[in-house]
Structures are given as C-alpha cells and as structure tokens.
Symmetry: C2
C-alpha cells in the first residue's frame, strides 16, 4: 500500500491525537458539484455507478475541488439487492424503485447465495481505479447500507417516510424477515471484506432508516445484524457505523469493535459524548441544510461544532448527506473552517 | 360544564393517581374507521372539517366504536394558515398544498391580524356540537400545530421529508422567519383560548416537524414559540405538547407549565422518565405501525409499555397518528389492553 500523504482520518479512527480533526462530507461524491451534474446529463445513474472510470472520476472530484481529507467511493447501497437478483430501477426525480418487492417467505428463499467478487466486480474495479487516481493523497472509504436499511427498500419497493410495509413485514412474518436480513448481512460482509482487499482503507455502514424503529425493535431488526457485520470485519478494516436517528442506541453501539460512530444533527455533541463516553471516535454532525446559511454563519457554527466535540477522537462531517442545492463555496467554507481550526 | 362520567384523562393531567391509565389514540378521529371512509367518499376534506355536524360525528366515532377515554376534535392544523388568508388545498393522495408559499418579508408583512372567532367560527361550532353529542361521557381535546410545524407547511408549500425550504428560509431570512412564527403564534394562542371557551377540556400542540432541527435551532425556531403559547394558555386549559422526534428537548420542555408531554416510540419509557423526572405526565408511545402486529403481540407490547412508564402520571397513546391501514379490531385490542390493565 502506498504511504498516505494525508492520513488524518486513519489516525482519528485509531483514536490518536491529530493536529486538527479530519473532515469529509457524506454524499460528497456527486449531487451538488457542477462537474458531476455534467456527467449526470450524459450517463444514467447505473452507468455512473457501474463504469469504474466514471465512478473513480466522481469519487476524486471533491478531493480536488473541495479539499476534503478522505474520498468515499461513488456508489449506491442498492447494489446489494441487485447482486441478489432483485431488480432495482433508479427513476430520476423519484428515487429507487424495486418493481417486485419482497413480501413472502418464498421470495426470500429464492434469493441465491452469491459470489460478490463476480456480481460486484465493477465496484472493486472502481476502488482500484480510484486508488490509482488518488495516488496516496487521502484515504478511500467504501460503504454499504445496513441490513435493515437495504431490507427497507427491498420490502417497501421504494423510498418512504415511514417504511410501514417493511415494518409490517417484520411484525407479521418475522421468520421471513430475519432470513432476509441474514441473507443481506452475509452478502454485505463478503462485499465489504472484498472492498477492503481492493482498496477501501475504511468502510462505513449507513443505517439510514434505523431511526424509524423503537429501541427494542432496533435491537432485533437492525443492530443485531450490524453487530454481526462489525464483528466479522474486525481486523480486516476500520468500520464506521452511521445510524441516523439512533441516538437511543449509541450506548450499545459503542460496545461494538467500531472505529467510529456517526451522529446526526439532532443530538448535541455534549449528549453524544455522554452516551459514548469517549469509548470511540465520533463523526458528524453539521445539519446539512445549515450549509444553506450565509458563509459567515457556516464558519461560526462549524467552529462551535469542533469546540463542542473537542478536537480529538473526532471526525468533522455533516449529520447526513449533503443536499443537492448547496453552493460549492458553502461546502468549501465548511471544509476550510475545519482545516483552519486550531 | 356537565360533570364528566369518565374524567380519567383530566385526573392524569393533574398528576392524580388513577385506577388505570387513560387511553386515546392520536388521529383516532378519521383515517382507519370504515364509517369515516364512507363519509370521505361523500364529502371533501374541508367539507368534513368545516361542517360542524360532520366534524362532530367523526369526532365521537372512536369513542363509541373503539372505547377511548377522550375525544379529539376532527380538524386540521392548517386551518390556521387558511384563517391567515393563505390558501391551502388538500389533494387526495398528495396531502396539503399551499399554492403561494411564503418566501419573502413582503409576504409575511401582508399576513393580516385576524379575529379567530370570526375566521374559525366553524371549529368552535364543531366543539359545541361535539360536546352535545358526547353528553359528558369523556373529555374533548382541541388541538393546533406548533408555530414551527405550521410555518413548515406555509413556507415549504407542501409536505416534505426534510422541509429544507422552510429551514433555508430561517437560515437566510431570520427576521422574516421570526415575524411569521410570531404571527402564527399570536393567532394560535387566540385560537386555543377560544377553543377552551367553546368546549375543549384539554388542548394539544402538535410539533410534528421539530425533530428536523438541531437542538440549538429547535430552541430558536420552535420551542421559543411553544413556550410563549404554553405560558399564555396557563390557567385557561390544560396543555399537552407533543413534539415528535424531540427527545433532546424533553428536559427543557418539562420546565414549561404543561399538563403533559407526548413522546414518540423512538425513546424508551425509561429514558423519557429519566429526562423528565416525573415533573410532568407523559403520553405515548406505542409505535403506530406495531398495530399491524398480531393481536396477541399488540396486547403484550401494550402491557409492557404501561409497565415501563408506570401506571401514574401516564396517558397511554400511540407515538404518532394511527395509520390508515390499521384493522379496527387491532386498535380496539390496544385500547382494551390498557382498559384492562391492573
């Protein structure tokens, strides 16, 4: 492995003291960058995801244009259902649609055991290509959805505010639900292990919809499977878990062998530290819509955020993905404020 | 005022010990009841809201058919923007749409001072009619949206997962945002005072979108105005505040002179008590989608909920509005479990 020029992120994940917190932004690859918008006009979503050269180009864009301390591979959490032979369509303006959502034990049983190396070869090629282009400048993050979050889409069939169909499936057909979660978990573990072998210096698990569950159901249908993943990946690659809306599980989550936990913006840094007691590095938690504020306000709030988390065992980030309508200079003001923090 | 036959709710709101917790369900009037669905086929949403006889009929339905311990007036939080001369359309399948959303100081300044007695006479007539039909059986709850939640719709122009336009308005035009929030607050205070004079035994303030804000922004743009309302209503009528997703503000909220605080299902009863230290009665927090579970499971979970909150200073309820697809016998199983709790 090439020696990294900027290894701030890796050191923060090890719990080492760093000269300043590393900074990156969830969804930084894509969405708001004008050069990305141009690629979006020429190539469909899955062309961008499945063409290693395009995915790599999009991945390194924010490193060069915004100056973040890490790259995160341009991809999608729904490559896993696709690999499991579940068709996923990406409808512009609507989001993901799964024409035949999973609603029965028969459908769950029909999901095959897969060889991720074969099915998701384009992701591993994209990682290798990205590492070439990064040329040791910053670490590269790979990611996957949590089993629960991927399950939500596979069962609901599309995005939702409440994912009631996915929840109803758990509550009325728990055996089928657990079998599906287990199949997603196994595939995702293999996927992230393979990512780590192909250039991912860090992996992040996104549990975007865990916050829709009660704490008890969260343990049963989400955290249980995240734990299985984190344990299986231990020793292979540092793992960050970001569970949006899951403040109630932070205390439990920091008992897992994670390198960091992400937190959203609806928790104060003080409370997040109180729940986790410096047992792990924390990552977050700037309100993505606060990047719509004037630049002077962004700077003030970003500094305050670092003050409140404290400069160590901390990775500056947003509390969720960057919004498509954020001006690039606002994103840059956020990143620069952290880089100039002292 | 007629002496109530069942005053469990009022006693729980006073903090008195009750023989069992009172139980009602948010959104119990409408949505899932077959008799309501029939009315929905004959009358438009606003016909149902604005015709006192219809609103009363819908309001008392769950008292007779499901056996809840309180009625809540069938109405909508968006009657306030309407009264403020902001057009609201209710599009079936889409939800509320505000064709000219508020986006400038000029628009905010143009919002008139109103006489709620005149503008919202149909609500007060509906309360009076409902009280006649209830005939002292159970207390009647009136409600309003929190200023922030009403503001969200007025600025965004429609429902949203993130209400980014509403948030951006706060962050880029704070003066205009605060003036609008203040105007909504004044109208809502007058509205709830008038409701209390016309038959509302209790009022509940719904802050459905407070959980989209950071704790700091929540204080500035939401809790500040809720506090103004609660203080203004003190002595007139018991006030319940339900702020969905605002676990982080419970400690602050229970310092207000509220009769109860609602909590959603993403917090354990234990944590909710820890944040509020029995300083107020708590209401909630059954996951609405858990009513899709088999009846035996509903009974088990409902009993566990009362065990966990403890039987006093507690009002059994859902953690958010009942879903339209809940079978009536599931709702009844929930209510009966609480009524048989000992």
């Amino acid at each position: 492995m090439t020696k990294l020029k900027n290894d701030l992120l890796l050191r923060a994940l090890k719990g080492e003291k760093t000269e300043r917190p590393p900074v990156w932004m969830m969804r930084q690859a894509g969405r708001y960058l004008p050069d990305y918008m141009k690629l979006r006009e020429k190539y469909s979503f899955f062309e961008r995801v499945e063409t290693p050269e395009l995915a790599a180009e999009i991945t390194v864009m924010p490193v060069h244009q915004v100056g973040v301390d890490a790259a995160i591979l341009f991809s999608d959490i729904l490559v896993i259902p696709q690999a499991l032979d579940v068709e996923v369509q990406m409808i512009p303006g609507t989001g993901p649609v799964i024409p035949q959502p999973i609603r029965s034990m028969e459908q769950v049983q029909a999901i095959p055991e897969i060889d991720v190396k074969d099915r998701l070869h384009y992701v591993f090629a994209a990682l290798q290509e990205t590492q070439k282009q990064l040329d040791g400048s910053v670490p590269l993050i790979g990611f996957a959805g949590s089993p629960w979050t991927v399950f939500c889409y596979m069962v609901e069939g599309k995005g939702s505010k409440t994912f009631d169909k996915a929840k109803a499936f758990c509550y009325t057909q728990p055996e089928a639900a657990h079998l599906l979660l287990e199949k997603i978990t196994r595939a995702t573990i293999a996927y992230l292990k393979e990512k780590s072998k192909n250039g991912a210096d860090v992996v992040q698990i996104f549990d975007s919809w865990g916050g829709l569950l009660s704490p008890l159901d969260y343990e049963t249908f989400s955290l249980h499977y995240i734990r299985e993943m984190v344990n299986a990946l231990q020793g292979d690659v540092p793992v960050v878990v970001f569970a949006k809306g899951c403040w109630f599980a932070l205390e439990e989550m920091c008992k897992m062998p994670v390198a960091a936990l992400g937190v959203d913006w609806t928790i104060t840094p003080h409370m997040a530290r109180e729940f986790t007691q410096y047992q792990t590095t924390l990552q977050g938690n700037f309100d993505p819509s606060r990047l719509l504020s004037p630049v002077s306000e962004i700077k003030k709030l970003a500094r305050q955020m670092v003050d409140d988390f404290g400069p160590y065992r901390y990775i500056a980030n947003l509390g969720h993905g960057i919004l498509p309508n954020i001006p690039v200079d606002h994103a840059r003001a956020f990143v620069d404020t952290i880089k100039n923090y002292s």
